[in-house]
């Protein structure tokens, strides 16, 4: 008799069951400190929430075209509108930009992990829990103008929690770029996406706490006093600035550098004028973040009389005094984005335009997303010109939608471009290209009619107060159609991406003949990112490792996919 059971059935029974393995995998995802997984969780949840934002945008459009009062309950419009504003900022733009930066930036700078990985995970769960509270409270008649006071409190608490999570997550990304760069990779040599992630995340970490401060004060007032900040009605008055431009422009900044990085890699060319590109990103970042501090930044309508010499100098001084703040905080960010998009286009076109690269899905997503983002910056500056009198109209809503959806397009471009690295498989260009057209049409249709309606003085924050039968009705219907197109774009793209990243063509470690560290490691990378610690001698360290520079087969590392764990 032996105490050791040698029967094979007994051995098999010690294997964990499918349910136990699934639970173990789920637990591994919930508690992961792998930046790639945390980043993908941010992006995945955000894309699902983007679908919800599209539905809400459509419902708001439906309310605005319905000639017979309200389709839904009349009190629900304010909640829907709040959900659209909060959703664009906290469910779409911020988590998409932060999630992509979290997944890609440590790979780009040659780090083995993100700085403070547990803090990054805390940031994700804090944001997710806060977002859940926001949705729950708004659905239950809470939020700005809500009828149930305890749910208004819950909404404000959710906003604070989500902000805390996003600030922590943004800080980990900034700390990664500042402290975990590979030897030789100076800040001047850092890839543009990592550089813009640094600028954007620092700007986010400095602007969101101010929004948190206002929200905490409104929350305490609402809990105990309800007089100082206007109770339910005052919530948006005190915190609404954080949900529209220029704050939205700050939230979009981390993705700005993805445009030059991805297009130059696809075109197999080194970026032209890298120092000027960095200046462009810095200009957009610093001046947009500074613009958030301006409470009433408008180009005044004051009349400047230059007719006589006596008052010429005085008028000139007043003119400069009036226009300088607007130029610094409104126009300068446009110049920054223009530099980034312009030099990227020049890199792609010189010496000869590669049509195949131009027509690839990642390039198209980036070029169209970048152009729309630039339009968002420009239209925000136009909205600050006082004589046009756009304050209080749907114009501001249109600009926010334009910025939000342009970030969605940029994020889809980033997923198409970096997806092969994160999942090891690529999305077929033919499958992804239709979504570029669909998404561009959706973003333009959802926002531009609102901007035109702003010029036609359609009031914002309401579904009434304007003639629904005339051209305004048509434009509101177009905006609703735009939201529906965006909804279809994101929904179908997510389906195609899921299929491609699980069953699609294997991408290989360096599918684009890349120039930066992320293409040096295996696809998907191991948990520790790099099998061998990389070093850099230039701003394109991987090219330096290739015998013939660009257009040469990659000499990449390989690592066991098993190291990365299950449920990829």
């Amino acid at each position: 008799m032996t105490t050791i059971d040698t029967r094979t059935e007994a051995l098999a029974s010690t294997e964990p069951s499918v349910a136990a393995r699934s639970l173990s995998d789920i637990a591994a995802w919930i508690t992961t400190t792998d930046h790639k997984r945390i980043g993908r969780m941010f992006v995945g949840v955000s894309l699902l929430l983007t679908l919800g934002v599209g539905v809400i945008g459509g419902l708001i459009g439906l309310e605005r075209i319905n000639p017979n009062g309200y389709v839904l309950d009349s009190g629900a419009f304010e909640q829907l509108f709040s959900l659209l504003r909060v959703g664009l900022a906290f469910f779409v733009v911020l988590p998409l930009t932060i999630g992509l930066a979290m997944a890609i930036v440590p790979l780009q700078v040659g780090a083995r992990s993100i700085a403070f990985p547990r803090a990054a995970l805390l940031g994700f769960w804090s944001w997710l829990f806060g977002s859940g509270l926001i949705i729950f409270s708004l659905a239950g008649n809470g939020g700005p103008g809500g009828g149930k006071p305890h749910l208004v409190d819950l909404y404000l608490g959710g906003v604070v929690l989500a902000i805390a999570g996003l600030v922590i997550a943004a800080s980990t990304i900034a700390a990664t770029v500042l402290t975990t760069r590979a030897p030789g990779l100076t800040l001047k040599r850092v890839p543009l996406f990592s550089y813009s992630a640094l600028v954007g995340c620092v700007a986010i970490a400095l602007t969101l706490p101010v929004l948190a401060a206002a929200t905490v004060l409104v929350l305490v007032d609402h809990l105990y006093e309800r007089s100082t900040f206007g109770g339910n009605a005052g919530v948006l008055q005190w915190t609404g600035w954080g949900l529209s431009a220029p704050a939205m422009l700050v939230y979009s900044l981390p993705l700005l550098g993805a445009i030059p990085d991805s297009i130059s890699t696809l075109a197999r060319r080194h970026l032209l004028q890298r120092p000027i590109l960095r200046i462009g990103v810095g200009l957009a970042g610093v001046s947009a973040a500074a613009a958030v501090t301006q409470t009433a930044l408008t180009l005044p309508a004051r009349h400047h009389s230059f007719k006589t010499w006596e008052n010429f100098l005085g008028a000139m001084v007043r003119y400069i005094k009036d226009t300088t703040p607007w130029l610094l905080f409104g126009a300068l960010p446009i110049l920054g984005v223009l530099i980034v998009v312009g030099l990227t286009g020049k890199t792609m076109a010189a010496p000869k335009l590669n049509v195949k690269v131009l027509l690839s899905a990642a390039t198209q997503f980036n070029l169209i997303g970048g152009a729309l983002l630039m339009a968002g910056f420009a239209l925000h500056a136009v909205g600050d010109i006082a004589p046009i009198k756009l304050t209080g109209t749907v114009y501001e809503e249109g600009v926010s939608i334009l910025v939000g959806y342009s970030v969605v397009l940029l994020a889809l471009g980033a997923l198409t471009f970096w997806g092969p690295k994160l999942w090891g498989r690529r999305i077929d260009d033919k499958k992804a290209l239709p979504f570029v057209l669909l998404g561009a049409a959706g973003a333009v249709l959802a926002s531009i009619p609102m901007i035109i309606l702003g010029f036609m003085k359609q009031p914002g924050y309401t579904a009434g107060g304007f003639d629904k039968q005339s051209a305004t009705g048509v434009l509101n219907a177009l905006s609703m159609a735009g939201h529906a197109l965006m909804l279809a774009t994101v929904g179908l793209f997510v389906l195609v991406a899921l299929m491609s990243f699980t069953k699609g063509e294997l991408a290989g470690d360096d599918p684009y003949d890349g120039q930066t560290f992320e293409w040096m490691t295996s696809s998907p990378p191991p948990v520790e990112n790099f099998a061998v610690a990389p070093t850099a001698a230039s701003s394109h360290p991987l090219t330096d490792l290739k015998p013939d520079g660009l257009n040469a087969p990659a000499r990449t590392q390989t690592a066991k996919p098993a190291q990365t764990g299950a449920l990829r």
Binding site: T179, V202, T207, V210, V216, E528, A531
Partner: protein
């Protein structure tokens, strides 16, 4: 494919210091935002000193007086804590372990003393949170700062125990702790001037 061995971890460059500096900057912006709203509402108040030319205490609720002594002691205590933390860094660089650990524990005691002084301010003021704009602003701003002080206390104690546990060469932790203390002391200096001095 043959897996290559995992690369050795490269030493991060002052990671904790940079992380602490970023979070400290976020905390400074948080209080900057709160104090900006305090000043905005104070200026908009019909009882604001600059509007009515009345002495500043009319902005306060009737019968409420801010005790000056405990608030001044809070400022002095925080400044002293900064001196202690700086001393801890110098001692650590000189490998004087006893002195470093002592100064770290003393900085934690300074945090407790500041929390105690804040509690005394609350007790002496005996002001209800309900009842007006000033009450909401005062309790929210000072309460949020109290949370930061508790954070400083936890940070000091953790660093002290790490040091006693043998991590005596990890000067980056001490410098990070000092950064946090310097920033919250600077924040309190502004709070002290705006809320306790000019009211």
């Amino acid at each position: 494919m043959i897996a290559l061995p995992v690369a050795p971890a490269s030493a991060p460059k002052r990671q904790l210091f940079v992380g602490t500096a970023l979070i400290s900057a976020a905390i400074a912006m948080f209080f900057g935002g709160m104090l900006a709203i305090f000043l905005k509402l104070r200026d908009a108040s019909p009882l604001a000193p600059n509007v009515t030319k009345r002495p500043s205490h009319v902005w306060l609720p009737k019968g409420v007086e801010i005790p000056q002594v405990p608030s001044n002691i809070m400022l002095i205590t925080l400044a002293f804590a900064c001196v202690l933390i700086t001393g801890a860094i110098i001692s650590a660089k000189q490998d004087n372990h006893t002195s470093t650990a002592l100064m770290l524990f003393l900085s934690a005691i300074m945090a407790i003393a500041t929390i105690n002084a804040q509690a005394l301010v609350y007790k002496r003021m005996a002001m209800s949170l309900r009842g007006g704009t000033y009450q909401v602003l005062f309790y929210t701003i000072t309460g949020a700062f109290l949370a930061c002080l508790i954070g400083a206390l936890a940070y000091s104690l953790t660093t002290a125990f790490r040091y006693l546990g043998g991590r005596t060469k990890d000067h980056d932790v001490l410098i990070s702790l000092a950064t946090y203390w310097y920033v919250i002391t600077a924040v309190f200096t502004v709070i002290w001037f705006v809320i306790y001095v000019t009211k």
